[in-house]
């Protein structure tokens, strides 16, 4: 990695020609707006929270 890393290629691993990268970023903008709304949520006190199985809380209960 050079002293002036390309954040897309060197950090995110997205190695695309500039035109293609610009297109992907353009397409991502609307999605990013939704993710930005998620980022703005204060979830500091929500824990433990990481769930691969969102129904796990019920798994051990009687059917």
């Amino acid at each position: 990695m050079s002293d002036s890393p390309d954040p897309f290629r060197d950090i995110l691993g997205l190695d695309l020609p500039p035109e293609r990268l610009a297109e992907v970023v353009r397409l991502y903008r609307k999605i990013l707006a939704e993710i930005n709304a998620l980022r703005a949520l204060d979830l500091t006190d929500v824990h433990p929270a990481v769930m691969f199985d969102p129904a796990s809380g019920w798994n051990e209960e009687a059917p």
Binding site: G13, L14, I31, L43, D53, G57
Partner: protein, 460 residues
């Protein structure tokens, strides 16, 4: 086309008054006559006839295996099968899948079903359309997706049931747009082992059928522990059929007015309001509820789905194979790299928040009812649709009401509840607590028994 249900066929097959061979021949004939226009199948089994002969011999010999024995069933092209190639909808070079049975395929075969062919999926089960599959109700319109081949095949009566997969709505969306039943059980209820993954924590396997009773029959065969899927539950599998026919008087049904009723086409709104009145007329107690945090759910599912899909396709991305993907799927896989680790984990954190909202709601409810989709089938090639007086992208609109149940893993079913003024089907969505499939089926069955939507067939 006639379109008998599994529940109708099974007694005849068991009694020997109907032969699996005749049934398979009829299905193959229907596919030959109609699938040129529908394009719902991508592969037809070369062994379906011999499988049917074997089923007929077993039934004659008294070795009847249950209601799926001798019934032709289609399976989405992202389920691995030992005797039919799997493509997951991709033709990109360098990508191949093994010829082994997924757990679902193996369970269907063990129950005596005849896997007659593979149905079309949009590439890697992305998206809410399934090009070039047509909607049987109007061939100029989409069948939904990504299990659009399964939805079209069942709606057209080519098969009584077909398997789909659902990451953000891909069973329920084609079920709604094609006028059939689509069941996504609780996350972990049906094994995904041998299903080409899309997003590990959102993917569900499930059936599309002509009736609620058939969905119950299928789930009874499909559900159950599987060491091949670490998320698969070890809970015992109840007799889902016992839930059918039970009254719903006194059941508490929630209607979530935020999000689910925010922006729907007028005809959808009218049909759903009528369905709610019908359920109330059957004795259900309707309660208006709010799920406060749904406004942030879209960002969460985007973060999880994009990151997960890109993780799965990481080698293909680095090897440059994604340039051979369809343009929309290629872009989605590439942009998954832009989702950061904190974004992904905050989305997972948010799922806890959303699940807590639903848990609070279900403390006073037996099920939640509402529309499956805000709109009916749109024309092929349309990327914007009119919804509630404004233009909206089909991508944004089409999965808005289904993905909350992928983030939470809650069981949800779509059943037909009428048609819009253009004659296109509308879907009613019923969701329940985790592992409350019997309750979801009970409410759906009670509604279905009061209507004849399932008996209506598209004019092929």
């Amino acid at each position: 086309m006639s379109a008998p249900s599994i529940a109708t066929l099974a007694p005849q097959l068991r009694a020997g008054t109907l032969s699996p061979v005749a049934l398979v021949e009829a299905a193959l004939d229907g596919i030959a006559r109609h699938d040129g226009a529908l394009q719902s199948f991508v592969h037809i089994s070369a062994t379906a006839r011999t499988d049917a002969e074997e089923a007929a011999r077993d039934i004659r010999a008294g070795q009847y295996r249950g209601p799926l024995h001798g019934v032709p069933i289609a399976i989405k092209d992202n389920y691995l099968t030992r005797d039919m190639p799997t493509t997951a909808g991709t033709s990109a070079p360098g990508i191949a899948f093994p010829m082994v049975d997924s757990t679902v395929a193996a369970r269907l075969r063990a129950a005596g079903a005849i896997l007659i062919g593979k149905t079309r999926t949009h590439e890697f089960a992305w998206g809410t359309v399934t090009p070039p599959t047509a909607n049987p109700w109007d061939k100029a319109r989409v069948p939904g997706g990504s299990s659009g081949g399964s939805g079209a095949a069942v709606a057209a009566g080519l098969v009584a049931a077909a398997m789909g997969s659902d990451t953000g709505g891909s069973i329920r969306i084609p079920a709604s747009l094609c006028g059939v039943v689509g069941l996504k059980a609780t996350f972990g209820r049906v094994s995904r082992a041998g299903v080409v993954p899309h997003s590990w924590s959102l993917d569900h396997a499930g059936p599309l059928t002509r009736s609620v009773a058939d969905a119950a029959l299928m789930l009874g065969v499909l559900a159950g522990a599987d060491p091949g899927d670490p998320a698969c539950s070890r809970r015992p599998v109840p007799d889902y059929g016992s839930a059918l026919g039970a009254p719903i008087a006194g059941l508490r049904l929630g209607v979530c007015r935020n999000h689910f009723f925010a922006r729907n086409q007028p005809d959808v709104e009218v049909a759903i309001q009528q369905a709610i009145r019908d359920l109330a007329a059957a004795g259900a107690v309707i309660r208006e509820i709010t799920i406060p945090n749904l406004d942030h759910a879209l960002g969460a599912i985007f973060a999880v789905e994009l990151a997960s899909s890109t993780a799965y396709h990481d080698v293909s991305l680095r090897a440059g194979r994604v340039q051979h993907f369809t343009p929309d799927v290629r872009a989605l896989v590439e942009m998954g790299r832009l989702v950061t680790g904190p974004d992904y984990l905050k989305a997972e954190q948010f799922r806890r928040v959303l699940m807590d909202d639903f848990r609070r709601a279900f403390a006073e409810l037996d099920a939640i009812v509402g529309p499956t989709m805000p709109l009916t089938a749109w024309r092929k090639g349309e990327w914007e649709v009119a919804v509630a007086g404004g233009a909206e992208s089909v991508l944004a609109a089409s999965w808005r009401l289904t993905y909350p149940y992928n983030l939470t893993g809650l069981p949800a079913i779509s059943i037909p509840c009428g048609f819009d003024r253009s004659g296109l089907p509308i879907g009613l969505q019923i969701a329940g607590e985790p592992f409350a499939e019997a309750m979801v089926l009970r409410v759906a069955d009670a509604y279905e028994r009061r209507h004849d939507w399932a008996a209506r067939l598209p004019p092929l």
